[in-house]
Amino acid sequence: MTDRRPRGLPARLPVLWPAAMLLLFFVVPFGIMLAVSFFHQVEGGFYEPGFELANYARFLDPFFGRALLFSLWISVLAAVIVIAVAFPFTYCLTRLRRSAQVPFLVFVLAVLSLSEVIIGFAWSTLLSRTAGLSNLVAWASLIPRAQAWTPSFGALLMGLCYLGFPYTVLILYPPLSRLDPEIPEASRTLGASPLRTFFLVIVPVLRGPLLGALIMVFVFNLGAYLLPQVLGRPQHWTLSVHITDQAVFQSNLPFAAAMAIFLMLFSLAFIGLTMVLGGRQEAAR
């Protein structure tokens, strides 16, 4: 039992089943998708096997460029806002007694698990004319009458921040809860105020995990596919929405596959970057 290498087939038997499942249902689908991205699209929603770069060439269209730029812009913006709120929030959370943290964690997990559909619906209700916040503002006579605040860029940004917040808290929770409590204590003993301690000690100490979290949230935001449809206008559609749209409604699977491959490589590059950053952080210790 102390040997760390499996000997013979019986020892390897347990890993065969998960290996088969992951290869058949995860690697093979990706292989087929990669192949389809080179296929030829014919009129009427069909495609035939082939090898052409036409689907990738469409990336040069202004249509694709606009969608890509908009996706990047709103994902970065939402990620920065979310980190700016979630980092101090998670820091405060981890300074609480462990038993006091639990209700917050349950709440964060419950919101995290919520379907994007439900979040979209909830925000569109909250920003609507009949049930929304604008009633409150109108009642306080700040605006003449209640109005609909959705669909709009602001509504979409708000929804994305809401979607990303619990995810960010959970990414930041491990590094922040493992932070040595003596570090802020030392800073306080030396006379720094809590705010100074936070910005001049905690943030620099944790800049590695912070940057990693920023990238992870950015990639997470790129994956939003329902909020842009519920809270945004058609010009606010992100790449994820266009992939779904091409695959299901335009019946152009090859182009959808090409966009998905692009999005995957793009995300992998960023995730790889966080790993490199994380590795350097480990090495520095």
């Binding site: 102390t2 992951l22 998708m33 997990l109 919101v111 959970l170 779904t244």
Partner: protein, 264 residues
């Protein structure tokens, strides 16, 4: 002063997070078929609608079937893999582990499209079995991570003592490993279950037009006109998730499960 500031800040953030849920809860109590807040002629009739109207009941049943079975399948794939990676040090073990983590880190639409083309080629597109298998693979990350955490927490000396006393590998697994990781198996299942219940894009791309789950049904209803039943589903899902995660916290160590150090 600083404590007051901290509580104020945390309270404001929680309020912001709770705001849409509170409005949705209010909207779900409207007497008529309208979304008003505060609700008019409050009545719980739309709650009855979810559990009696055939189309909503059907979507609820689909969601529950998919969530219970896909979480079980995810667990069945994740457990042997997590055990193997913990027990042996091999390159292919680590590679497979990375493969199990991947679906959760990539934008979901990519995996969903992969499933779409795969099931179309395999001829199972539109079948509930395809949705179950897809969800199991998509969410395999969750039990994989929780079980690995549980295994890592086992003191290796306990295992060595068992071997010294003459236990063979199956006995060690049955009498030492299994009881110690059981809470992590349960929480892994619970995470996969709750997330499968809420999942939209994979279910939609694999069988969206034939197997309608609750999230798909809500989105379809969003297009054709709002009804308070959608708010009811949202309320039920929030409560269900809070209940399940509350139970995990009650019987397990939630902070440790989410990455804090073990209690000293």
């Amino acid at each position: 002063m600083s404590r007051l500031l901290r509580n104020l800040f945390m309270g404001l953030v929680v309020l912001f997070m709770a705001l849409p849920l509170l409005v949705v809860a209010g909207v779900s109590l409207n007497g008529g078929q309208q979304l008003r807040f505060p609700p008019r002629d409050p009545s719980p009739r739309w709650y009855a609608e979810l559990f009696t109207a055939e189309d909503w009941l059907n979507a609820l049943a689909n969601s529950l079937i998919i969530a219970t079975s896909s979480a079980a399948l995810a667990l069945a794939v994740a457990f042997p893999l997590a055990w193997f990676v913990w027990r042996y040090r091999t390159g292919y073990g680590r590679l497979l582990y990375g493969l199990g983590i991947a679906p959760f880190t990539l934008p979901p639409v990519i995996t969903a499209l992969g499933f779409l083309v795969f099931w179309t080629v395999a001829g199972w597109h539109g079948s509930i079995l395809a949705t179950i298998v897809s969800h199991a693979i998509f969410f395999v990350t969750l039990p994989l991570v929780t079980i690995s955490l549980g295994l890592a927490a086992i003191d290796r000396q306990v295992i060595e003592v068992a071997i010294t006393m003459g236990a063979d590998e199956p006995t060690v697994f049955r009498t030492v490993v299994l009881p110690l990781v059981r809470p992590y198996l349960i929480s892994g299942y619970a995470f996969a279950f709750v997330l499968s219940l809420n999942e939209y894009i994979v279910a939609y791309m694999v069988a969206g037009f034939t197997v309608e789950t609750l999230p798909i049904k809500i989105f379809n209803s969003l297009r054709y006109g709002y009804t308070p039943v959608m708010a009811v589903v949202a309320v039920v899902f929030v409560l269900l998730a809070a209940l399940i995660f509350g139970l995990i916290a009650r019987f397990g160590d939630l902070p440790r499960l989410l990455g804090a150090w073990s209690k000293e």
